[in-house]
Each structure stands twice: as structure tokens, then as C-alpha cells.
């Protein structure tokens, strides 16, 4: 109210109505309410413009990803098809030696599941935790369909002695509830032992943690490389006269606009053992024809191609910040006796940090989730976590595992994105 009283128009309204704390509009409504109404109307209008797109993105993007992530902790392949033994697991503590009730429940469930032809699903679910056990379920399923007589323990062990394996029972216990954290444990190379304690998996099966580290380490390296290559270019473009820099800018923007697959293909062509670069090196006599370098289908290939592809994402933000740096600061530093190196280090470089931060975070975020380039040029040592997710989606069909890995990757990316938004602001993103 105090602010409204300072407004000259409000003052007129005050004299007209005669009541100093109840300002009204011309048609007699209280001014505060009229203002609030018009503001909420404006807010509603603005929101209505955004609403269709927001709904579209929520339905086609946010909800699907949420649904997919649900699979990372929810898998009822075992529990839905094996209800009796699942109930037995729920009643007994971890590590209980299976008793008669357990064997009876198992035999009944196996029979029912084999009849319903869902035994494959059950076996697949256990197979995720204990490799090789799918065939145990399917072969036993075939046998129990021909009939099974009590005592069930002996009958099942007769069919396959693997049924007595404590690891199998531990895996079944893990799968007996639809909601499970086991896929996340597996995604960080952990598992539960027979007593239900969390332990590391055997040394030769620890792949995911290594892969996460490799993804982050390679992304960091690529970010550093784009910085080393991008900084001089951005500086040159920012200090050249407009006409020349616009011309050179095309050399940065053309790769940016060129298809990702085209750029990846060119690197495959260039880096092959019978490719252009090796040919030139042999022709120059730097290497012999027999010692052609293996620069592709390994980490080197991934690093070179991704650095090239992501370089414009570093140059563009750096350039837009460097353009705004006033050159007289550096000149002032020089006139006060600083060497050119000191002037650069103490005066120029600190002013480029906002652009550097924006570019580095963008490159890192994009690199962490890269899939196509590593898949094509990475060989086996240049694969990233995205490629593992794709493998679980299309080859092993372990969708829950893919979802758990995706959830961890997404968590990391969103954390970085949040940081980017706080430090740079998403509305400051510029393209070309």
C-alpha cells in the first residue's frame, strides 16, 4: 500500500474515494484486487502459450523416461510367475536352508509356470543375476510337465543337481520381490552373497565401474582437448576485424552444421590403416609400410573423432564472451609494465572464465552421453557407458540393467545440467 500511495494516479483515486487505504479503480473495484487480477490474467496468458509444448514434452519425453527408469527397480518376471516360493522367501530370513515347504512351493510354481509357458521369463530373470541359469529353468520346466512326484526335493535334485546350489537360492530370493535394488548393485559391480550381504562381484566380472570411470575420464580428456584447441581459435576470431572473423567463423560453423555421421565417417576414412593419414606418414617415410598406426577402433579413434565433433561447442561460447572483453585492460596492464604473458594470465584469461565454464560444461555433458561415435570408431576399448546401455537394450535384452545404468548416467548428467543452469543459465545457450 505504501508504494501505491506514492503513485500519482493512486493519489487521484485516493482523493476521489476519500478513503486513504482503500484505493479503487474508475469502476469502483479495489485497486489491489484489480491489479492482482490483471497480473494473474497475464500470468495465465503467458502460461497458456507454453502449456501445449510443456504437455507435449511431458508426454513424449519426461514420462517415457520415467517409465523406463521404473524398470531399474521394478521387475516382476520372477515374483509374478512364481507366487508360492516368493511368499516363502518373504516369510523366512535371508540364508534359511530351504525346507520341505520351500521345495513343495518351488515344485508347484515350476509346474504352473511351465504349463503357462512363462518359465522362460522366470529363467531370464534369474539369469540376470546368475549367468547360465536360464537353461536350468527351461529344461526343468520340460521335465515337470511330464509329471513330478513328492518328495519334491529329491525329485528336483534328480532332474538337475544345480537346484541345490545356494547361489541359485540366493538369486531367487533376490528376485522374489518385484521391487529390487539389485540392478543398481549390479550397475556398480556389487552383488548379494548367500547371507544377503553386499559384496563385490568376482574380479573378472567387474566391468561397470571401470566403464563409468572410463566415460568420465575420456569426457574430461576430450573437454580439455577442446579447450586447448578451441581457446586460440576463439581468441583469434574475437580479435580479428569483423569481416575476416566472419569469414573464418564459417570454418567453425561448417563442421557444426555437418551431419554427425558424415564427420564420423570421414574420421573412419582418414584414420584407417589403409587410410589417408597412414598413407601420408608412409609416403613421408616417418613410418614403414609394415608399421602402419592403429588409430581407429580403439580409444584413440574415439578421442580424435569426439574432440573434432565437440570442438564447435567449446569455441562458440568462448568466442561470444571474448568478443565482449575490452582490449584496453590488457593494454593498460602492458603500459604498467606487465609482460605479455603476465597480462594474459592475470588480466585477459580471468575474463574468459565465464565462456570457458559454459563451453567446458556443455562439452562434458554432451560427451558423457555420446553413443554413435564410440559405437562406430571406438572398437572395444573406446566404448562408453551409453554403448553398454544400448547393448543391454538390443543384445542381452536385460532391460532392467539398461534402465539402472541409464538412471545412474542420467543422474550424473542432470546434476551437471543443474550446475550449468545455476552458473551459466540455460537461457544463455547460444547456437552459432
Amino acid at each position: 500500500m505504501a508504494n501505491a500511495a506514492l503513485d500519482p494516479h493512486a493519489a487521484i483515486a485516493t482523493t476521489a474515494s476519500g478513503a486513504p487505504d482503500r484505493l479503487t479503480t474508475a469502476d469502483g473495484r479495489p485497486l489491489v484486487r484489480a491489479l492482482a487480477r490483471s497480473q494473474s490474467k497475464a500470468r495465465r496468458r503467458a502460461f497458456l502459450l507454453v502449456a501445449p509444448l510443456l504437455a507435449f514434452i511431458l508426454i513424449t519425453f519426461v514420462v517415457p523416461i520415467g517409465q523406463m527408469l521404473q524398470r531399474s527397480f521394478h521387475n516382476d518376471g520372477f515374483s509374478a510367475n512364481m507366487p508360492q516360493i516368493s511368499a516363502w522367501f518373504a516369510e523366512t530370513p535371508a540364508g534359511t536352508v530351504p525346507d520341505d515347504a520351500a521345495w513343495t512351493a518351488l515344485a508347484a510354481d515350476l509346474t504352473a509356470s511351465a504349463e503357462a509357458r512363462s518359465i522362460g521369463v522366470v529363467g531370464t530373470r534369474i539369469n540376470y543375476d546368475l549367468a547360465g541359469s536360464r537353461s536350468l529353468f527351461t529344461s526343468t520346466g520340460r521335465k515337470v510337465r511330464r509329471g513330478i512326484e513328492p518328495p519334491y526335493r529329491d525329485a528336483l535334485l534328480e532332474m538337475d543337481e544345480d537346484w541345490g546350489d545356494p547361489q541359485l537360492w540366493s538369486a531367487m530370493r533376490g528376485a522374489s520381490s518385484a521391487v529390487t535394488g539389485n540392478f543398481y548393485l549390479a550397475a556398480v559391480d556389487r552383488t548379494r552373497d548367500e547371507a544377503g550381504k553386499i559384496v563385490q562381484v568376482e574380479e573378472n566380472r567387474r566391468i561397470y565401474v571401470t566403464l563409468f570411470w572410463r566415460t568420465f575420464w575420456l569426457s574430461g580428456l576430450i573437454t580439455a582437448l577442446t579447450f586447448v584447441l578451441g581457446f586460440p581459435i576463439a581468441h583469434l576470431l574475437a580479435t580479428l576485424p569483423m569481416r575476416k572473423s566472419n569469414l573464418l567463423m564459417i570454418l567453425v560453423l561448417l563442421p557444426f552444421w555437418t551431419s554427425l555421421l558424415v564427420r564420423t565417417t570421414s574420421w573412419m576414412v582418414l584414420l584407417q590403416q589403409q587410410g589417408v593419414i597412414n598413407d601420408i606418414l608412409v609416403w613421408l617415410g616417418i613410418i614403414g609400410d609394415g608399421q602402419r598406426l592403429q588409430m581407429i577402433y580403439n580409444q584413440t579413434g574415439t578421442i580424435i573423432a569426439m574432440t573434432h565433433i565437440l570442438l564447435p561447442f567449446m569455441i562458440l561460447p568462448l568466442y561470444s564472451v571474448m568478443r565482449t572483453i575490452n582490449p584496453s585492460y590488457v593494454r593498460a596492464a602492458r603500459s604498467l609494465g606487465a609482460t605479455s604473458w603476465t597480462a594474459f594470465r592475470r588480466i585477459y584469461f580471468p575474463q574468459t572464465l565465464p565462456g570457458l565454464g559454459a563451453g567446458a560444461m556443455l562439452v562434458f555433458i554432451l560427451a558423457v552421453g555420446y553413443y554413435i561415435t564410440p559405437a562406430l570408431v571406438g572398437g572395444s576399448s573406446g566404448q562408453l557407458i551409453s554403448n553398454m546401455i544400448a547393448m543391454h537394450m538390443t543384445d542381452t535384452l536385460n532391460w532392467s540393467m539398461a534402465a539402472a545404468l541409464a538412471a545412474l548416467l542420467l543422474g550424473a548428467v542432470l546434476a551437471l545440467y543443474w550446475l550449468y543452469d545455476r552458473l551459466v543459465g540455460v537461457d544463455n545457450l547460444k547456437l552459432g
Binding site: 510443456l54 570454418l251 552444421w257 558424415v262 565417417t265 573412419m268 576414412v269 546401455i389
Partner: protein, 317 residues
């Protein structure tokens, strides 16, 4: 970038070294794209320059890989090149089909992304927009979230889009979106939207809201104000956003691999298959055509940007 007169000899050396370094980096940026162009005219099925090519012998060059783009998949590729031959190419050639699909999907997803994205950008650039920052972050996120995660999520959702409704106790029956053009168009529109939002909001930063008020005070309806005042001013931004969205769709392969059916073979998918199975110089011919295409797009966008800056009176950069 001239060397100042007071520069020490060391600084002079460094200056020329710096220019050389920059030239090398520019070479690194552009050479891989340029080198495939002559290689696509190779007469031999190799990925390197043959001796004949280096001697500029016309026999070292040929159009055979471009020709194979047309003939691959045709029922009668060897016949005389009359009208029926071209009809066959138009109807059956694999790369022609892929190009048609890419254009159809690209155009429709661009229209969807541009219309929704421009409306949203108009709303987002109003000062009274509630939760502006959070909503902006959500709308930009398709660009940030790793493509493989997006594609995986879409794979499950598009296989059974009605599954969502079962949460509300409904049990509707509806078709799949996966394996249909509509599904791919939706997916590509989602991926293109961030680019539209970014370019259009950037154009609206310099937009003078009092122009709208002036139009309204002169009696123009909101619709008339939009089409006669706002739209002409933001059009360059809208078009570059649309071009970005189109390129995104035209170059997208991961979502296509996961949700498209055999009918939605696009150029990137065909390239992906070609690269993974057996890479032939025909891929380089496609790549060259795509490079030419991106040069055309880049030129358009640059011209638009300059025009937009001129109209709005914003000094470049």
C-alpha cells in the same frame, strides 16, 4: 592482429607461431570434411587417394558411387535410362526411399517443433511467466539428456502408448506409435524443440514489447498484432530455429534405430547400416551430398542472422 611496434623479438616469434597454430587447428576442423569430397569420386573401391587420382588422371575419377546410390535396390538397374528406369529408381532405389522418408519426417517434425516451440518461446519471454526458469530447463532438456536414454524411454513408451492410462485405472486399447511415421515425427519434434526455443528466445531478447502495446492501443486485435507486428520481427529467429530442428531430424539415428520400423528407413539409418556392415565409397558419395546440403543450410542461417540483426538494429555480436 598486427604485431604492435613495441613488441620484442620473442613476441614477434610467438605471434607468428600463434598464427601457425590457429591455421593448424582450422585445418583440423575442416580437412576431414573436405577430404571426403574428392574421395567420393574414386574409381576404385578404396578409401584413399590412388596414384591415378594424385596424377589427376581422369581415369582415376568416376561417378560410379553416385550412380550406385540410384541403382542400389532397383529391380532392373541395367536397363536403358529411359522414363521407366527413372520410375524404377524413384519407386525402389533404397537411398531414394531413405531420402524421401528423411524429408517427410524432417518436414513434419520441424513444423510441429516450430509451431509449439515458437508459441512457448513467446510465453517464456514474457516477464510475467511463472516458473520461467524451471520450465525452460525442462524444455531444453531433450538436448542435454543422452540420446540413448531418450531413445530407450521412447522405445518402451511408443510400443504401448496407452500403458500410461492404466495408472488411472483405465484399460484402453490403442495402437503402437513405434514403427509408424507419427512415432518418429513425435520423437524428432521432441529433439528439435530445444533448438527452436533457444533461437526464438534469443531473437525475443532484443524485442521491444512496447511495439505490441502500440499496436494494441491503435486498435489491433491480439491476433493481428501477432501476425503484423511480432511475427515479421522474429521471423528470422523462427526460421533458423526451424532449420536447426530440420537438421536435427535429418541427422538423427539413435531414436530411429529404436522406434522406427522397416518402413521408416531414413538416410542416417541407411548410412549407419552401411557403415556397420560393409563400408563402401557409396557412403562417401552420400556424405558429400550431405556436406553440400549443410553448406546451403549454413549460408541460409548466416544470411538470416545478419538480416535479423539489421532489422532489430542490434549490432552484430
Amino acid at each position: 592482429m598486427a604485431v604492435p611496434t613495441y613488441a620484442t623479438p620473442l613476441e614477434r616469434i610467438w605471434h607468428y607461431a600463434y598464427i601457425a597454430i590457429c591455421a593448424a587447428i582450422f585445418f583440423f576442423l575442416i580437412a576431414p570434411i573436405v577430404v571426403i569430397i574428392p574421395l567420393s569420386f574414386n574409381a576404385e573401391p578404396y578409401f584413399t587417394f590412388t596414384d591415378k587420382m594424385l596424377e589427376f588422371d581422369p581415369e582415376g575419377y568416376s561417378m560410379r558411387w553416385y550412380d550406385s546410390l540410384l541403382t542400389f535396390g532397383m529391380t532392373a538397374p541395367d536397363g536403358p535410362r529411359d522414363l521407366s528406369w527413372w520410375g524404377d529408381a524413384w519407386a525402389n532405389a533404397k537411398w531414394v526411399q531413405a531420402a524421401k522418408n528423411s524429408i517427410i519426417i524432417g518436414v513434419f517434425s520441424t513444423i510441429l517443433a516450430t509451431v509449439l516451440g515458437t508459441l512457448a518461446a513467446l510465453g517464456l519471454s514474457r516477464p510475467e511467466m511463472p516458473f520461467r526458469r524451471a520450465i525452460m530447463a525442462i524444455l531444453i532438456s531433450p538436448m542435454i539428456v543422452p540420446l540413448i536414454i531418450t531413445a530407450t524411454g521412447m522405445f518402451f513408451f511408443y510400443s504401448n502408448p496407452c500403458e500410461l492410462l492404466t495408472l488411472f485405472g483405465l484399460d484402453p486399447q490403442c495402437g503402437r506409435l513405434a514403427g509408424t511415421y507419427l512415432g518418429v515425427i513425435f520423437a524428432h519434434a521432441t529433439l528439435g524443440i530445444p533448438f527452436v526455443i533457444i533461437t526464438v528466445t534469443a531473437t525475443l531478447v532484443g524485442f521491444d514489447q512496447s511495439l505490441n502495446r502500440a499496436a494494441a492501443s491503435l486498435g489491433a486485435s491480439p491476433r493481428r498484432t501477432f501476425f503484423r507486428v511480432t511475427m515479421p520481427l522474429i521471423l528470422p529467429g523462427v526460421i533458423s530455429g526451424a532449420l536447426f530442428a530440420f537438421v536435427t531430424s535429418f541427422d538423427e539415428v539413435v531414436a530411429v534405430l529404436f522406434i522406427a520400423g522397416p518402413d521408416q528407413q531414413t538416410i542416417p539409418r541407411q548410412m549407419w547400416n552401411g557403415i556397420r556392415e560393409q563400408i563402401s565409397p557409396a557412403i562417401l558419395a552420400v556424405a558429400t551430398l550431405l556436406v553440400v546440403f549443410s553448406i546451403a543450410l549454413l549460408t541460409t542461417v548466416e544470411l538470416l542472422r545478419r538480416r535479423s540483426e539489421r532489422i532489430r538494429g542490434v549490432t552484430p555480436h
